[in-house]
């Protein structure tokens, strides 16, 4: 049951904007909306931190381009570092499960540091990707950006490094979206 591809790009910001730097995903969405060309609204869907990861699976399936921003904690990297993963669907003849490769710096190592569910009835990001991969429902291009953060106290402001990373990533995404829609 292959559906028509959804041409609108999807930008997902994960995180809790009230928990300090954990909110970088939604904050990048805010920054992007401010600088995006007014007509971009017709080309882009924004999704802020859906409580249910199954919503992600539904939202991104059959999309051409999806960009996902989340916070991650990694003591080996400087706060504000932006990590990029390009996750395209496995081809039918590819048998390697890249999500099982747990060496530092691999997709799996990064994904394990990203969104974890607050309920045992929900999926984490890696499980959502696995379900999508298994169902053949991965978007054609899924780019994950993880910003390394260091504090998530309630209501705390962003550090300068993380604030700069939010601005940089929003600009970078805006350029990419313009290229992709242009």
């Amino acid at each position: 049951m292959k559906q028509t591809a959804e041409l609108k790009k999807l930008v997902v910001g994960l995180g809790n904007r009230w928990r300090g730097e954990d909110g970088v995903g939604p904050l990048v969405l805010d920054a992007l909306r401010k600088i995006a060309h007014p007509s971009a609204g017709h080309e882009i869907d924004y999704l802020e931190s859906p409580a249910d990861s199954l919503t992600l699976v539904n939202a991104w399936q059959n999309r051409e381009h999806v960009y996902l921003i989340d916070a991650c904690v990694d003591d080996t990297l400087k706060s504000g570092t932006i990590i990029r993963l390009d996750l395209t669907p496995l081809k039918p003849n590819e048998t390697e499960d890249r999500f099982q490769d747990q060496r530092p710096g691999t997709d799996d190592a990064v994904l394990k540091k990203l969104r974890h569910p607050t309920s045992s009835h929900m999926l984490d990001l890696k499980q959502a990707l696995t379900v999508s991969q298994t169902l053949g429902a991965m978007p054609k291009h899924l780019t994950v950006y993880a910003i390394v953060i260091s504090q998530f106290d309630i209501g705390a402001p962003l550090s300068q490094n993380v604030n700069d990373a939010v601005t940089t990533l929003a600009k970078q995404l805006n350029n990419q979206l313009n290229q992709a829609t242009g």
């Binding site: 409580a51 045992s120 499980q127 379900v131 298994t134 169902l135």
Partner: protein
């Protein structure tokens, strides 16, 4: 060899695919089961205590946070209880919107449990990820159905989990006719999928289990005119018929050492069974016509008491919820205003509604300023806890030929028959402040 040496123990230190943190302990030997404990070690959550002193209008939003799976149920019981206290009457259209919202939550919760959490048990696999590889079409259907449930809750509640548009007296904002038209289209598409899913679920290998030796006491709401969600009298399979105000006289909570959730027993002694199986058996004639006909087609007719078949009943309730939603939307007449208010005064009120997992009781007392003086909440899982233990105790003697892995698996499956929500069940704690 002594009896002690022959005794075996099943331990499941952390129950998977249930909401919250629980464990199972069973001690048995070849002749009998000595001890069964569903241990709930999730810490108490103090909700009843920290509702004290809050404004009565905050109860629906605070109690919704008890559960991420059934927040609507908490909001519905809270608003009905407050409206009961303040004698607030609602227009019929408001009742219908709330019923539609509840349909959305039943769909969300049941579909998640049926496909992602419970079906793997019947197929002897470990997870929904494995299920997606074996039956991708079923998982796709589940995702689509869940999306429909989410759409209902988002449209009426403002977001899909922990809605923010629900208030005492109605809604903060009513949906537009166009928004409801979109929903109607979604529900029609989803209904065919739900029927297909129910037929598929009914073909799963359902283990036999007969409780005729110790029959269940089924307890559910009942309403002559509709399958129960927001209203009705409380009835039982033994002929009980009560109003919500009589609940605490007959259903008594007690603390047991091994659980941070109170056990609730009828007359303080007898375990009882709430949830889809109880609703279905006590309200079969009130099912929506299509769900009723499908139940008969699937040979699921009362008495239908094997708890392992609860997965079939949940699937039928999904069909019922979609049909009900379509009927509501077809006949909907918008209320004249989003909400009504009542005169705030010192009062007490209570209500019972049917959460996906069974009856959910709320009772509040407020003062002249509308501040909450006391709150009591009895969630479904704490009511079913003793019945789950009894199922395990009664089931085990016929299963002792199984190897330990299979036996453990069957026990976990039996617990998941109830879709227990441990996080809900541990909200309790009576806080006593001794001020000198």
């Amino acid at each position: 060899m002594t009896d002690h040496e022959k005794t075996k123990t099943i331990r499941v230190d952390y129950l998977a695919r249930v909401e919250g943190e629980g464990a199972l302990y069973i001690r048995y030997n070849d002749e009998r089961v000595h001890d069964v404990k569903l241990k709930i070690f999730e810490p108490p959550r103090f909700f009843e205590a920290f509702l004290q002193g809050r404004d009565y209008r905050e109860a629906p939003d605070i109690t919704a946070r008890i559960c991420g799976i059934c927040p609507v149920a908490y909001q519905m019981s809270a608003v009905h209880a407050m409206e009961n206290a303040l004698a607030i009457d609602l227009e019929p259209g408001m009742h219908q919107l709330r019923r539609l919202l509840y349909c959305g939550e039943w769909i969300e919760s049941h579909v998640l449990h049926i496909v992602m959490l419970h079906t793997p048990d019947f197929l002897h696999i470990d997870s929904a990820m494995e299920l997606a590889a074996i039956h991708p079409d079923i998982v796709q259907q589940a995702l689509s159905l869940k999306k429909t449930g989410n759409a209902i809750v988002s449209r009426l509640g403002g977001r899909e989990i922990h809605p923010i548009n629900i208030r005492v007296g109605g809604f903060y904002q009513l949906p537009t006719a166009r928004e409801l038209d979109i929903l109607r289209h979604d529900l029609h598409s989803a209904l065919a999928q739900a029927i297909t899913l129910a037929r598929w679920v009914a073909e799963l290998p359902i283990p036999d289990f007969d409780r005729s030796a110790e029959p269940y006491l089924l307890v559910a709401l009942h309403n002559e005119h509709e399958y129960p969600m927001n209203s009705g009298s409380l009835i039982s399979s033994d002929g009980l018929s009560l109003c919500a105000a009589q609940f605490e006289k007959h259903f008594i909570e007690q603390h047991v050492e091994h659980s941070n959730a109170l056990h609730c027993l009828f007359e303080g002694q007898r375990p009882y069974f709430v949830g889809p199986m109880a609703r279905f058996n006590l309200n079969f004639d009130q099912l929506a016509p299509g769900a009723h006909a499908l139940a008969i087609e699937l040979n699921a007719k009362p008495p239908y008491l094997n708890p392992f078949a609860s997965i079939v009943v949940r699937a039928l309730e999904v069909v019922h919820a979609l049909e009900t939603g379509i009927t509501i939307l077809d006949k909907y007449q918008a209320p004249s205003q989003p909400f009504v208010t009542g005169s705030v005064r010192s009062a007490s009120g209570c209500a019972i509604t049917e959460a996906p997992r069974g009856i959910l009781y709320h009772r509040y007392t407020i003062d002249d300023d509308g501040k909450i003086l006391s709150a009591k909440i009895v969630p479904p899982t704490s009511q079913n806890q003793k019945t789950i233990e009894d199922d395990l105790r009664l089931m085990l003697p016929s299963l002792l030929h199984l190897n330990e892995d299979d036996l453990r698996h069957r026990c976990e499956q039996a617990i998941r028959n109830y879709d227990p929500c441990i996080s809900c069940a541990t909200h309790f704690l009576q806080l006593t402040l001794d001020k000198h």
